[in-house]
């Protein structure tokens, strides 16, 4: 669905206005909504994230290099330019194909973070589970050091070393 004001961008903000018993629906893109003073702060759109990256760099090709700009997902045909257009990925495999670029985009959207430390499906392999546990502990260690909780930090460091030993150094840092 296109934005009702600029008729160009994808509408990401959907409002129902009720006045004098009349119900009108409004579908706007983020930037038009902000111009209209409607959006206080909705969820950040991918477009904005890319726009932030692209502002200093005129094209996807210059930003990510020609290999990335030309690359397409073999499963669904997704290109990084589609993300700018549609705001959405094409299939789970895209996250592997474009892993490096996504790290940049995700860090902008998620307060500088690009590594999952939450729930892991029970059917995920032992390696995945251990890698995520390690990432979680490292995150906690960072917070402990920041909050000057040095005893906790020492304990976390031990746990991390123990777990890294089990992984035999095969884990991503």
């Amino acid at each position: 669905m296109h934005c009702q004001i600029c008729k160009k961008n994808a509408a990401t903000i959907h409002l129902t206005e009720i006045s004098e018993g009349h119900r009108t629906e409004l579908h706007l893109c983020e930037s038009c909504a902000i111009q209209q003073g409607i959006a206080a702060k909705t969820h950040i759109s991918v477009k904005d994230l890319l726009a932030g990256l692209l502002a200093s760099q005129p094209s996807e090709e210059e930003l990510f290099g020609p290999e990335v700009a030309d690359k397409a997902c073999p499963v669904c045909g997704f290109r990084i330019t589609s993300l700018n257009k549609e705001g959405l990925m094409g299939c789970p495999h895209d996250y592997e194909v474009f892993e490096d670029v996504l790290v940049l985009i995700l860090e902008r959207a998620h307060d500088g973070k690009s590594r999952h430390i939450g729930k892991v499906p029970s059917r995920a392999g032992q390696g995945t589970k251990r890698a995520l546990e390690l990432a979680r502990l490292k995150e906690q260690l960072k917070a402990a050091v920041r909050d000057e909780q040095y005893e906790l930090a020492a304990r976390l460091r031990d746990q991390i070393q123990q777990l890294e030993g089990k992984c035999q150094g095969g884990m991503p840092s």
Binding site: L15, E86, K119, V120
Partner: protein, 373 residues
């Protein structure tokens, strides 16, 4: 079980019970999940969507939950049904207006909904009254585990649960509360609240229409970051720090107005009561605005023990017994929904013109305030 079974009844989430219910109407947690081996919904053919719908419908209806569930085929449903489900917070507007095979499995009592083929293959939602995010998280985690035993989710060792939009990736969790903040606006602190929320990476939007000037003073606050933080930390932070702080901010404004400008509050409550008791035509906008003032009056009595001429008179309409105040909050929470256009029409049994809706709305509110017809 069918849709008509819920149009006349209400989920627990509207009961006005639970912690901080004077300000927090409801708590909601949503998880975004996708099936491994399928393209995301926006790139699926109609056949692929139908296949995903069938798989997930069967799983959601057969997992071992105590609550009875029913399925609504959203693409086959009438506009009125879809609007009703959106008004009721059981499906999203995006889901209502989507394309192709899609559906929703809804549990009786409305604790739980699974939207199939929304932006992601599966969007799970758990909804409860008051500030109960911890309990929501527990329940949705159990449901997610049960589903995961039956299907394989798309999961990446570094990025976590994969979602169509990169802003949901990682935990796929959206933790949100619906807040009633009438006094922050009256004391002119709404901007401060919005700025503080932005600094905490929270998204705030008016529940009804026009952005920061939300009709009915109802706001939805939710997290924006879903990656690099654990579900437990997000939920704990919201439930133990962020939400109580916002509630205290609103309550401080209520106490201040009560102490310094009692007439300001009393005038709003007295006018709202008098208007709604006698008006013959009430628009949606007017209903939301005035019901907000009644809800404020009742909840100031319940949590601050406020007694003013207008509050006393209003509480009297619901009976003088103090435990009636919780019941009164529930009545008002329900009126906020039952007087919305799709609710009015579905409960009436057919489509109504604006004029007829305004008359019916006025009548329902008069009856709820003890004014008979």
């Amino acid at each position: 079980m069918k849709l008509t079974d819920i149009s006349g009844t209400f989920g627990q989430w509207l009961s006005g019970t639970g912690p901080l219910a004077e300000v927090v109407l409801s708590s909601r947690i949503r998880l975004a999940r996708n099936l491994a081996g399928h393209r995301f919904v926006n790139r699926c053919t109609s056949e692929e969507k139908a296949q995903i719908l069938e798989t997930l419908r069967e799983v959601l209806l057969s997992i071992e939950l105590t609550e009875e569930r029913f399925f609504v085929e959203i693409d086959q449903a009438s506009d009125l049904t879809r609007s009703f489900l959106v008004e009721r917070h059981l499906i999203s507007r995006h889901h209502a207006m989507g394309k192709g095979p899609r559906g929703a499995v809804i549990a009786k009592g409305e604790y739980f909904t699974g939207m199939i083929n929304e932006e992601d293959h599966l969007r799970l939602q758990v909804l409860m009254s008051g500030c109960q995010l911890g309990r929501c998280a527990e329940l949705i985690n159990q449901i997610d585990d049960m589903i995961e035993r039956r299907v394989e989710y798309a999961f990446h060792p570094r990025f976590g649960y994969l979602t169509a939009c990169p802003t949901n990736v990682g935990t796929g969790i959206r933790v949100s509360v619906m807040l009633h903040l009438p006094c922050l606006k009256m004391v002119g602190h709404l901007d401060r609240f919005l700025n503080a929320a932005r600094d905490m990476n929270l998204a705030v939007r008016g529940l009804f229409g026009e952005g920061t000037e939300a009709i009915g003073d109802l706001y939805q606050v939710s997290n924006q970051v879903t990656l690099g933080v654990s579900e437990q930390d997000l939920v704990r932070q919201s439930e133990q720090n962020i939400i109580p702080e916002i509630v205290e901010y609103e309550n401080a404004a209520r106490r201040k107005l009560l102490a310094d400008q009692q007439e300001t509050i009393d005038d709003k409550i007295a006018r709202a009561t008098a208007l709604l008791q006698s008006a013959q035509l009430v628009s949606s906008h007017e209903a939301l605005t005035l019901l907000s003032h009644l809800r404020l009056g009742i909840s100031m009595r319940r949590c601050l023990g406020a007694s003013t001429p207008a509050i006393d008179r209003l509480c009297g309409l619901f009976g003088h017994d103090p435990c009636k105040d919780t019941k009164a909050i529930e009545v008002l929470n329900r009126l906020l929904l039952t007087t919305l256009p799709a609710h009015l029409q579905l409960n009436y049994g057919k489509a109504l013109e604006t004029y007829q809706r305004d008359a019916l709305r006025a009548k329902i509110i008069r009856a709820a305030l003890g004014g008979g017809s």
